[in-house]
């Protein structure tokens, strides 16, 4: 193994399990990469080098005595700073939560730990996960490993850029309105927003109890599947997961031949940069070569779904934050405070209508797609814009850029669908372009199978950024 930190999650876990690599060697490699990148990238908000090295030594000792704790034995992982660990800081990117220690541990983190993963550190995020660009006036803006002047996307800003720079083999993010998919697209990583109600949200910072989802960003679809297999499934602490099915590895490893991919004719084709359209065309050709059937998809009005999602997110976020909005509004950054105030626009009846329509809207979607397995769509119209051109303090033009950036996100959240982002091209400025594979409810495994087949035939997920 040349540089352990460059291994994918699956490779690193396998190398440790087969004793080709020690947990300490992997941990030291990642810490060295963090030391190199962190001054410029600031992707981590807290690092625990002594603790993680001690845990790595313990993992190696356990393995030497014949004890294997699970499929991630001895692999250090960093996560978005919104996953609680009992007695440890979880500051959620905000002054409001500065110095706050969590009373319990997130189920997702506990399940990773039970699988043998180690805790490397906490990652940068948009304040309270409420922002699509990675701007954070409290922490400083997230910086893209491919170009430090460009956005990471948000709100899982640190997860996207840290995985891209190989500071962690994978990271948990969260997706309420695109917060896994946008950083995956802009940073050139693979990200899986799972089906709603498949992964427990217990002891994860909430933004919208209806639309929040917990999922991974990693280097490959295979790695995302490995994480989802571990963190998914029923959890008594989050009753919405009570019907969540166990991971079906046979489906996640199925051949892509015979799958039907739908390509939308409207909405998702509007305003695309030529290089994004080119990535779509090339991906369609690649999936055809893999034996998939490509078909046009006539989807219901996506603007309505997007508007309904906006009602739900803004009202639920305002509800969560109401106590602090009453008593310490000055502790929010102005951008977050203004977004929270948007939740004051709707009546209770309007909010509940948006909530009640979700079932009929999903029914309508399923009728519209028929036997289509996966929808292929762009994540965003362009590759990463600059931090300056998406800074809303810089003028009204920024809001238009952000609107274009996030246009293809919310319908997926409203319908609770799974979506996998895979790198699929590069812009003229050598910035990553990702595409989203949108599945049927609980079709996460099919996305992993299709994404893995795509990545076996393409190279877009392989380039490694270098620090200028």
């Amino acid at each position: 193994v040349t540089e352990p930190g460059l291994l994918t999650l699956t490779e690193a876990a396998g190398a440790i399990r087969n004793r080709q690599l020690s947990s300490v060697e992997l941990t030291k490699s990642l810490l060295a990469r963090i030391e190199h990148w962190q001054p410029a990238l600031k992707a981590l908000v807290r690092i625990e080098p002594d603790e993680v090295l001690a845990a790595a030594q313990d993992a190696d000792a356990a393995l030497a005595s014949g004890e294997t704790r699970g499929p991630l034995h001895g692999v250090p992982l960093a996560h978005k700073d919104m996953y609680y660990r009992a007695g440890k800081l979880a500051e959620c990117g905000s002054k409001v939560r500065a110095g706050w220690t969590a009373p319990g541990t997130a189920t997702a983190l506990q399940r990773l730990a039970d699988a043998g993963a180690l805790y490397l550190g906490a990652l940068h995020m948009s304040e309270f996960a409420y922002g699509p660009t990675g701007h954070n006036a409290y922490l400083g803006a997230g910086r893209n490993a491919w170009d430090l002047e460009r956005i990471t996307g948000g709100s899982s800003s640190g997860s996207g850029t840290a995985v891209a720079a190989r500071l962690t083999p994978a990271a948990l993010g969260s997706d309420t309105g695109g917060s896994i998919r946008l950083p995956a697209h802009f940073c050139g990583t693979t990200g899986l927003k799972p089906t709603a109600n498949r992964v427990s949200r217990a002891n994860a910072m909430p933004l919208s109890f209806t639309l929040d989802t917990v999922g991974p960003l990693a280097r490959t679809a295979e790695d995302c599947g490995l994480i989802l297999k571990i963190i998914g499934g029923p959890d008594p602490l989050d009753p919405t997961t009570s019907a969540a099915p166990a991971w079906d590895q046979a489906r996640a490893a199925r051949p892509s031949q015979g799958l039907t991919i739908g390509v939308p004719e409207s909405y998702y084709v509007e305003g695309l940069a030529p290089e994004t359209a080119k990535a779509m065309d090339e991906a369609i050709a690649a999936f055809q070569a893999l034996g998939c059937t490509i078909r046009k998809a006539l989807l219901p009005d996506q603007t309505l779904l997007s508007a309904a999602a906006q009602v739900i997110v803004t009202v639920e976020a305002a509800s969560y934050h109401a106590p602090w909005m009453r008593t310490r509004p000055q502790d929010y950054t102005p951008l977050t405070r203004s977004r929270l105030e948007n939740g004051l626009a709707y009546s209770a009846v309007e909010y509940l209508e948006a909530l009640r329509w979700r079932g009929p809207a999903l029914e309508e979607h399923l009728i519209a797609i028929g036997d289509i397995d996966v929808i292929l769509a762009p994540v965003s119209q362009t590759a990463a814009p600059t931090i300056a051109e998406t800074d809303v303090r810089g003028g009204p033009g920024a809001e238009a850029v952000i609107q274009g950036m996030t246009r293809f996100m919310r319908p997926v959240n409203y319908l609770g669908l799974p979506a996998l982002v895979v790198p699929a091209g590069r812009s003229a400025a050598n910035l990553p372009i990702g595409l989203q594979l949108i599945g049927r409810p609980f079709g996460d495994e099919t996305l992993v199978a299709l994404g893995s087949a795509f990545q076996a035939k393409t190279q877009h997920h392989l380039p490694v950024p270098t620090l200028p």
């Binding site: 089906t195 709603a196 109600n197 209806t210 919405t240 019907a243 099915p245 009005d301 603007t303 309505l304 997007s306 508007a307 309904a308 906006q310 009602v311 803004t314 305002a318 109401a322 909005m325 009453r326 509004p329 203004s338 105030e341 948007n342 004051l344 626009a345 709707y346 009546s347 309007e350 509940l352 209508e353 948006a354 909530l355 009640r356 329509w357 979700r358 079932g359 009929p360 999903l362 029914e363 399923l366 609770g416 049927r440 409810p441 609980f442 079709g443």
Partner: protein, 65 residues
């Protein structure tokens, strides 16, 4: 849903006991107006018996697929 006015937002904020400046209420009306107008124009008709959890019933049908 009706078009948004700053007055409406100030009224909801007062009922929620959340302080908001009049200029912020005007900004909210502008920012949120397009979503409200879109839903208003659609005149959604939701069947009488539908409740929020109907979503999970539709979603879970797909588990067996």
């Amino acid at each position: 849903m009706p078009d948004l006015s700053a007055e409406r937002i100030l009224t909801i904020a007062e009922a929620a006991r959340i302080p908001i400046e009049p200029q912020s209420a005007r900004r909210v009306a502008t920012a949120v107006g397009p979503a409200v107008n879109r839903l208003t124009a659609a005149k959604l008709t939701i069947p009488f018996e539908i409740e929020p959890w109907s979503f999970m019933a539709v979603q879970q049908r797909e588990i067996k697929r």
